[in-house]
């Protein structure tokens, strides 16, 4: 069995019943388990074992093949998983700048040590230069966007090695 053995399934069933839960659903590539409690209605705990939205129609299409104009950052997912790496994401939509102005040096470079609260880049939105601070201490391991590139909300900006 892909994920659970029979004893584990029974244990799950007992747990759902004993705790009076609505339902538990487990889904993993090619495997699916759903236990519904007495009540019915919505799912209380959903556990998905892979990162990919399974059959979600537009999702799968978007992720596997971003449209020509898509702003999805084409970052390989593996980068994110790497142990000891913390990802700083953009809190706003705008244009990413590594330096305060075109003549200056970048706020930070790969290999630089940054402290929590240190300004590491600027995201310009509506003519405002928003200084983005590092939310962690560590060493810059990667800069994701190019200088001057548009970034979305939640888009990866930096990877910071903390260990």
């Amino acid at each position: 069995m892909a994920l659970l053995n029979f004893k584990e399934i029974l244990e799950l069933i007992d747990r759902v019943a004993d705790k009076g839960l609505g339902a538990v659903e487990i889904e993993s590539s090619g495997f699916k388990l759903r236990v519904e409690g007495k009540s019915a209605d919505p799912v209380v705990a959903t556990y998905m074992h892979d990162n990919l939205p399974r059959a979600a129609m537009p999702g799968s299409a978007m992720i596997s093949a971003p449209g020509p104009g898509s702003l999805q950052a084409p970052v390989p997912e593996a980068d994110v998983e790497e142990a000891g790496l913390h990802i700083v994401t953009s809190p706003i939509v705008g244009t990413f700048y590594r330096a305060p102005n075109p003549e200056s040096a970048p706020f930070v470079n790969v290999g630089d040590r940054v402290s929590k609260g240190q300004v590491i880049c600027i995201v310009e939105a509506m003519k405002l230069m928003n200084e983005i601070e590092s939310d962690i201490e560590g060493v810059v391991a990667k800069v994701f966007p190019q200088n001057g590139q548009p970034v979305e909300y939640g888009e990866k900006l930096f990877a910071v090695r903390t260990s």
């Binding site: 979600a56 537009p58 706003i92 939509v93 888009e155």
Partner: protein
């Protein structure tokens, strides 16, 4: 003409705007929250930008994020859809300041007409009858009580900035009013960011009839007939039809003229709706919606126009494309299919396991849902609009019945069983409608 339009909305209306843009050869940008990554408007737009987390306030209501998205994608216009920022004059204003066209009326018109209490004053000044009530927002509960005593109970509290039933409370006596005042303000604040409420005489058995209006920037303003929207539950429309079964050509002319007069008073352009309450032989201006409405398709079906296309053309400075006297034909009914329990009305988000929509002549479905779509709990519960058209009201009802019967949505509960019940109600069949219809039906 615009080369790229950003759509500051989600769901079926975002798709609706995308398809109008595609027919006009205009590129589109979808914005979306983190909860909407798999939404169809993201899939079908030419570009997409994630603008914030699931909460509306931080995404679809986040003005700076949306304008930044328009800037980084080079959009030259923004279509606001309905709801969210569609009636936010501040948003319209900032956009114009940034050199981005707002597909809607002037910010000033939104300020004057989108605000319910100011709109009452405008209508009054234009000589259009209004429901007795307060002159603008009431400052505190004592003032409210004074007005209520003057016009007589029952009264209704309404959010000045509002729409869609949020911030609305009916008060049958002083005690009700004292309790409801704070709740209504709180709800208004949460829904629209402005707590102001005003007060009106509450008509107990009126019809809710609205007129679609449309103006261009050359100063021409016309109405496109009425929509009967009396079938409501908790001030939320469930079904709309055009024409109204109670309408006569004479009344239509009088009400249409009044609707146009209100618009002219503020130099209105683009799409708008003038809502009236009709009580016996009298009609009263209630409010104006300065945007496209959810129920615009019923007007499209009887006029043959594409109103969203027209919105875009007018925003680009073109003249209205249709003649002053439009030929209207047939009868159209819209059903709002909500992900709700049809008995308790509790929202019922979740995964749609099966989705099959009806086809055949005279049936239109506007939806952003599909099999396997997971309805997020953060937004409106409407998942589809079913619109039917037929030569007569009677035929449209039969068509609606079979279309509802052949609309299969599994995995979640919807309002379809309730709408099927409405279609079987003898008062509905006779066209005896009022805003109390649902209350009586469910008794």
């Amino acid at each position: 003409m615009f080369s790229k339009i950003l759509i500051a909305n989600r769901g079926e209306i975002a798709l609706r705007v995308i398809l109008a843009c595609r027919e006009l050869g205009i590129k589109t940008v979808a914005v979306h929250s983190e909860a909407d990554r798999n939404a169809l408007h993201v899939r079908y737009a030419d570009e997409d930008v994630c603008i914030g987390p699931a909460t509306s306030k931080q995404s679809y209501l986040n003005i700076s994020s949306i304008i930044a998205a328009a800037e980084i994608t080079g959009a030259d216009a923004v279509h606001p859809g309905y709801g969210f920022l569609a009636e936010n004059d501040h948003f319209a204003e900032i956009l114009e300041e940034c050199g981005i066209r707002f597909v809607g009326p002037a910010a000033e018109a939104i300020r004057l007409m989108g605000n319910k209490s100011r709109a009452r004053e405008t209508a009054k000044a234009a000589g259009v009858p209004i429901i007795p009530g307060s002159d603008g927002p009431v400052e505190d509960v004592d003032t409210a009580e004074g007005v209520a005593r003057e016009i007589g109970f029952p009264v209704i509290l309404k959010a000045s900035a509002g729409g869609g039933g949020r911030g609305m409370r009916i008060c049958w006596d002083e005690k009700d009013l004292r309790t409801a005042y704070d709740t209504a303000r709180h709800e208004a604040e949460r829904a629209f960011g402005v707590a102001d409420v005003y007060i009106e005489k509450y008509l107990t058995n009126p019809r809710h009839i609205e007129f679609q209006v449309f103006g261009d920037t050359q100063g021409r303003i016309v109405h496109l007939g009425e929509r009967e929207c009396s079938i409501q539950r908790r001030h939320q429309k469930l079904m709309e039809e055009s024409p109204s079964p109670m309408m006569t050509p004479e009344l239509r002319e009088r009400m249409g003229a009044a609707a146009v007069k209100v618009c002219e008073a503020v130099g209105y352009y683009n799409a708008g709706t003038i809502e009236f309450l009709v009580d016996g032989p009298n009609f009263y201006f209630m409010e104006m919606n300065t945007r496209i409405q959810v129920e615009h398709p019923v007007t499209e079906e009887v006029t043959g126009l594409d109103l969203v296309r027209e919105q875009i053309l007018v925003a680009a400075g073109e003249k209205l494309s249709f003649p002053k006297k439009l030929e209207m034909s047939g009868h159209a009914i819209e059903f709002r299919v909500n992900a709700e329990d049809p008995v308790t009305f509790a929202p019922n988000p979740g995964r749609i396991t099966t989705f099959h929509q009806p086809g055949g002549p005279g049936v239109r479905v506007d939806t952003a849902a599909y099999s396997d779509y997971v309805i997020p709990p953060h937004y409106d519960s409407m998942i589809a609009k079913l619109i039917v058209k037929a030569p007569s009201r009677r035929d449209a009802i039969e068509r609606g019945r079979r279309a509802l019967d052949m609309f299969t949505i599994e995995g979640i509960k919807t309002t379809i069983p309730l709408q099927r019940r409405i279609l079987g109600d003898p008062r509905f069949l006779r066209g005896e409608l009022s805003t109390r219809f649902m209350e009586d039906l469910l008794k």
